[in-house]
């Protein structure tokens, strides 16, 4: 169980709930939600977020634009970001990686897969900061 606060950004309430529950089962109970990139940027300024999980296709501001905005801000530029999306083409993954996403999951996913991805990112981030 970890106290890390995770921001879940997805326009689908179903997916937000699924991710929240999956995170709870793998030991990450502290979560908050945003329905699109714009909403998430606002939430970022008002809370101490340690990790971001974001979808790609969203209204108002999509996940890719959101990531670019986060990375452009020196305060959040090092924040770990995991993208969970239905977009699974090679071109999509490369585009996300070029936007500096830390890791990528194509839906559907399992709680175990989510846990492994988060732990993998945290491990890499720790290595890079040491």
């Amino acid at each position: 169980m970890t106290s890390m606060k995770i921001l879940i950004v997805d326009d689908s309430i179903t997916i937000r709930r699924i991710i929240t529950n999956a995170l709870k089962t793998v030991g990450f109970p502290d979560t908050m939600e945003a329905s699109n990139g714009k909403d998430a940027l606002e939430k970022l300024t008002n809370a101490n977020v340690d990790f971001i999980i974001t979808d790609w296709n969203m209204p108002e501001m999509n996940g890719l634009d959101f990531i670019k905005q986060v990375r452009a801000n020196p305060i959040y530029s090092a924040l770990p970001i995991l993208m969970i999306t239905t977009r699974g083409t090679e071109h999509d993954v490369i585009e996300a990686l070029q936007a500096k996403v830390n890791s990528y999951i194509v839906k559907p996913f399992t709680p175990q897969e989510l846990k492994e991805k988060i732990e993998g990112i945290l491990k890499t981030v720790q290595i890079n900061t040491v």
């Binding site: 689908s12 309430i13 179903t14 997916i15 709930r17 699924i18 529950n21 999956a22 089962t25 790609w56 296709n57 209204p59 239905t86 977009r87 699974g88 083409t89 090679e90 071109h91 993954v93 490369i94 990686l97 070029q98 890791s103 990528y104 999951i105 194509v106 839906k107 559907p108 996913f109 399992t110 709680p111 890499t124």
Partner: protein
């Protein structure tokens, strides 16, 4: 008539000859074109009727797909609500099962024994044999919990909780289908726009103006229709490349 004027007449005669020859060749072509137009006229009328029906049906189809999305989203929310309640209830049951024994008599007796053993340890001033007895009692209690009906029940309840999580995760299909429906609606919208342009440019009727707008949906077509496992493998390969600084 001088030579120059004669040359001029001969030139014009040559041009007339070419024109006549050209006419001989073009007239049948023009006849064929006219015949073709006469033949395709009914087909164009048919096409126009199809386009007009499509103009009405496409928005209807888009609306129906939108309703499917709404219905599945509502169903998913209802299922999630029920699962949340089930998981919470199972949590409570697991806690109470883990903290107590099934048989209240056995539970009371065990608690009494545990109190006696603790008291013995305290009273004995941590006598080595008494401490060994307490340790043996602990092991006995643990093995009772592990092998007894309580542990079986606890395991079954945890399995049920795990099943609930699995059902919850399976509801991702709602979002996935919603996104695919969105892509289909985007295609329908593109077809509708194409038909609208066709009617505006070709039929020049008022039906083009009468086209109701199709609902706007995010268009994201998956270009590669590969299986889930292959896609995940591809993602992992790209992530490895990115880690190696190759992307």
């Amino acid at each position: 008539m001088n030579q120059q004027e004669l040359d001029g007449i001969l030139q014009k005669a040559a041009e007339l000859k070419v024109f006549c020859e050209y006419g001989e060749r073009t007239v049948p072509v023009l006849d064929e074109i006219a015949s073709f137009v006469r033949e395709i006229s009914p087909a164009i009328e048919d096409l126009r009727a199809v386009v007009e029906v499509s103009m009405v049906n496409i928005p209807k189809a888009a609306d129906q797909l939108g309703r499917v999305t709404q219905a599945t989203e509502q169903a998913s929310t209802d299922i999630l609500n029920t699962l949340d309640r089930m998981v919470a209830t199972l949590d409570e049951v697991i806690t109470s099962v883990a903290s107590g024994m099934i048989s209240s008599d056995l539970g009371a007796a065990t608690k009494k024994m545990a109190a006696i053993v603790k008291s013995l340890v305290d009273k004995s001033g941590w006598d080595e044999d008494i401490v060994k007895l307490a340790e043996a009692w602990d092991i006995h209690l643990q093995s009772m919990r592990m092998s007894g009906p309580t542990s079986n029940l606890e395991r079954l309840l945890k399995d049920l909780q795990s099943d609930c999580t699995e059902i919850m995760m399976a509801l991702q299909v709602q979002d996935i289908t919603q996104q695919h429906i969105g892509a289909v609606m985007g295609t329908i919208q593109a077809v509708a726009e194409g038909l609208q342009q066709l009617t505006t440019g070709f039929f020049s009727t008022s039906s083009a103006e009468a086209l109701p707008p199709t609902p706007s949906m995010p268009v994201q077509f998956e270009q590669e229709n590969v299986g889930e496992a292959e896609r995940k493998k591809m993602v992992e390969a790209l992530l490895s490349k990115a880690r190696a600084g190759q992307i």
